[in-house]
């Protein structure tokens, strides 16, 4: 479950922010998660909630923005959405690296990120918080 490693890295970063900014209480963190990052949203949410328990950011919400994958074909110069696997067993579509136009191998040029986009916080009195 690599989502736990990712959630831990995320929470470390947020706790670092919280420690340096005692007057700001984090209420929400917004992530951008690309289609090619293969991160399972449900698992990431579950891990996030588990990791923040009893930390200064307990109760903060995780908002995930999904970023579409983009592939580039070195053979036919196709650039755009990937081809999806047919006849798969999961409900979520699975992007492939097969070129939708010519069938050769493409490179993923977009949608492989997993990054914090922004943090929403509330100004608080550090003595009360």
């Amino acid at each position: 479950m690599h989502e736990l490693s990712i959630a831990s890295g995320l929470v470390d970063k947020l706790l670092d922010f919280a420690e340096k900014n005692p007057d700001k209480k984090i209420v929400e963190v917004r992530l951008a998660v690309g289609e090619f990052s293969h991160i399972e949203e449900e698992q990431l949410r579950f891990c996030y909630t588990a990791v923040i328990t009893e930390t200064p950011i307990d109760g903060s919400t995780l908002t995930i923005e999904n970023i579409d994958g983009v592939v580039l074909c070195p053979d036919c110069s196709y650039r755009g959405r990937p081809k999806y696997l047919e006849g798969i067993l999961s409900e979520d579509p699975v992007a492939t690296l097969q070129c939708p136009a010519c069938g050769k191998t493409t490179h993923a040029v977009g949608g492989d990120e997993c990054a914090i986009k922004s943090i929403r916080f509330k100004e608080v009195d550090p003595l009360i918080a």
Binding site: V27, A115, E123
Partner: protein, 223 residues
């Protein structure tokens, strides 16, 4: 970073571009630079528990160790069984215990790289944790990634774990001596792999009969 002036209890945003995969990616690049400096190639072997990674690596080490300096890194959550098996080949073996981790990461591999005599090595086999879900997100600094699937895992291994294949250059379909008994078609598995990534090299092998082992060795030396 843009910070707005805030009033108590008002909610504000901070724009923050911070990649959560970057820390590992950076260490992977450092590992790669260290390997390149010594002219050493590392290959990351991924695959499920029981797919035959250890046996396959043992066969490859047997074949290659007299021709060039080889070493093996073994990732294992708790035991040293695999490392012990390969150590019988009298090549340097680094056991990396991840305890609760389900994948090797670049930090652990980097520590291992600093503990062996890289100048004597041409090829390092990195046996990742037996897991087809996690390791794809965690590059280690290897020059190529190999996925090992075996026919005993059934006909759906590729379709069930498509992500693992997208970042790999070689797929080994192992235990083909059992394909008929398992009623699994090696051709179908190959087709599934190529549907995901047409230029991936697929090599059917059997560690029992020795089929395909030479081709894998050749493919690794060509990387």
């Amino acid at each position: 970073m843009i910070t707005l002036k805030a009033q108590p209890d008002e909610i504000y945003d901070i724009e923050l571009e911070h990649s959560l995969l970057e820390a590992n990616a950076k260490l992977a690049k450092e590992n790669r630079a260290l390997l390149d400096k010594h002219g050493t190639t590392a290959i990351d072997f991924m695959g499920a528990i029981g797919s035959g990674k250890t046996t396959l690596i043992t066969k490859l080490v047997e074949k290659l160790k007299d021709k060039l300096g080889v070493a093996v890194f073994n990732g294992d959550a708790t035991t040293s069984n695999d490392a012990d098996a390969i150590a019988k080949q009298n090549v340097p073996v680094v056991q990396i215990a991840t305890i609760n981790g389900c994948h090797l990461d670049a930090n652990l591999v980097g520590k291992g790289l600093r503990q062996i005599e890289l100048e004597k090595l041409k090829l390092i086999f990195i046996e990742n944790i037996g897991n087809l879900i996690c390791p794809a997100e965690f590059p280690l600094g290897s020059k190529a990634r190999v996925v090992v699937v075996s026919v005993t895992e059934g006909p759906w291994m590729v379709k069930k774990h498509p992500h693992m294949f997208l970042g790999s250059q070689i797929v080994i379909i192992n235990k083909i001596d059992l394909a008929a008994a398992m009623e699994v078609s090696v051709d179908d598995l190959t087709r599934d792999v190529h549907a995901l990534k047409p230029d991936i090299k697929v090599i059917p092998t059997s560690c029992k009969t020795g089929a395909g082992i030479d081709q894998v060795a050749e493919a690794l030396l060509a990387i």
